[in-house]
Symmetry: C2
């Protein structure tokens, strides 16, 4: 395929998976209570829907779906697991935007949840999105075997929590007042953004009953995606305008936070991105043409300008 | 047994279960990362330990353990499930105390987490405690059957989330600016405090492989405990001094929040508590003397002065 074809086909796949994901999220965020729930308070469910519906690239669910597809699983149960991961991602954005955290007023070109509602509602909406993710990942359609769902649940908790995303955000906040070495920045980014992207790829393989060896292979692919995503994000933060990204940029520098781009320079960062892309390609080589969509996604993440 | 004997034996059991719970929590909140975690940042793990270790009545884990014991299960796996529930309870206290929520400076006679650390750390510590709970509830020692652990996980999410505790806190916050009927207050309390107490009793029965009928019986017992707990708490809020409870009192009235005691009066509240205790006793009657500790616990909750 030519580059143009790859891009066109990737855009189509992103759209298709996004379109299948939306009703799954809509169903999870229904206004009617589920069995075992008393009621779903209007204001809270609206804030959660505001945070989770109708926006974003849905990169994490797309990764889950593409990896599962690589191993032959394409049903909507995969998207329920993807939705669980997306709920975690959305909760993290809601809490990270709070005044006590990154203090952002805009997200995806719209007021952040605490601006559109209020701080207390934003805190609770984040809490409830996080909790709902652990409801979704247990649902029967995710996988026929309860042991697999339990494995996915535990891995999700580890990717999202103290030793993963939440821990990474803690380290990132501390970076505003403490100098970080390159190794420390790599570790905090592996936690803050890397852990969920790694989980997305790992979960896709687990969902499709991939061999233990392939689960590890795709887990490594996810780690590469995570690092590439962050490096590309750092480049954007340096280079892009607020107009393109729909959020404030140059914030890392303004907050005094060291980034890998800042330490390594733009050229070395671009070189590392190329190297990562090569490693991703090598990892997917055994799967031949079937891995083309995943590889296109890796390239999209590496070269994205928004 | 005389009343004095019951009280003495209850106090001993509370102490014993609390002493067995502490190392379980300590293990979950270890400073070393688990498999699948990168590292556990010092500041975050310290804030979580501050919030969860060495304090509180441990009422929810005690309920889990006593109900499981009623059905013949007494091993420490029960306390791992109890610890998961306690982590959820502790996270809710950390977030409820935040300036944007109830804005409390004291908890159990100590500075609240956002006072001892800072707001961002308190938000993240709450998030990470909540997430860790969903790690703990999946652990092998909780139950040999993954399907049971999955059931416990999903029920925990529903008790804690949008349609349970978090939803109840949303309704409670709205009560500061909106009048509530008695029925609305009952619903919000059933969610805010009732849902976790109900889950504690239900989980105890599920953990010990109780019959479906007994699971429902103990679930109902948990609902009664939840209501009695809240009524007793409302009475305390009206009557007790800050000295006895270690937290600010009379806050509900100050915040303009209607309570059941406020609507029904003290005498009617006491009468309802007696009635609830009678119903709890009837529910436990089939279990004879074996239910004495649980019944003593119900009485303790109904008559507590702190």
């Amino acid at each position: 395929m030519t580059d143009a074809h790859v891009t066109e086909s990737l855009t189509l796949r992103l759209k298709q998976i996004g379109a299948r994901l939306e009703p799954v999220l809509e169903h999870l965020l229904a206004r009617q209570p589920l069995a075992g729930e008393t009621c779903r308070p209007d204001r809270l469910v609206e804030a959660m829907r505001y945070a989770a519906l109708g926006g974003g690239k849905r990169l994490r669910p797309v990764l889950v779906a593409e990896v599962a597809c690589l191993f032959g699983r394409e049903d909507d149960g995969v998207l329920v697991a993807g939705a669980a991961l997306e709920l975690i991602h959305c909760y993290s954005l809601v809490h990270d935007d709070l005044p006590a955290m990154d203090d952002d007023d805009l997200r995806r070109g719209r007021p952040t949840v605490h601006k559109a509602f209020d701080e207390a509602t934003a805190i609770l909406a984040g809490d409830a999105l996080l909790t709902l993710a652990f409801d979704a990942i247990t649902l029967d359609e995710v996988h026929a075997d309860p042991a697999v769902r339990l494995h996915l649940t535990r891995d999700l908790a580890r990717a999202a929590g103290l030793g993963g995303m939440a821990g990474g955000q803690m380290l990132d906040l501390e970076s505003e007042t403490r100098a970080r070495s390159e190794q420390e920045i790599r570790q905090l980014q592996a936690m803050k953004t890397g852990a969920l992207l790694r989980y997305a790829c790992r979960a896709g393989a687990l969902l499709a009953d991939a061999s233990a060896q392939d689960v590890e292979r795709l887990t490594r692919f996810g780690e590469i995606i995570g690092l590439a995503f962050q490096l590309a994000d750092d480049l954007l933060d340096v280079e892009a305008s607020a107009e393109t990204t729909g959020k404030a940029t140059g914030k890392d520098a303004a907050a005094g936070k060291a980034t890998l781009v800042g330490l390594m320079g733009v050229d070395a960062t671009r070189a590392e991105l190329e190297k990562l892309l090569g490693e991703a390609s090598d990892l997917l080589a055994p799967f031949g043409d079937r891995a083309a969509p995943l590889l296109a996604l890796a390239e999209f993440i590496t070269n994205r300008d928004h």
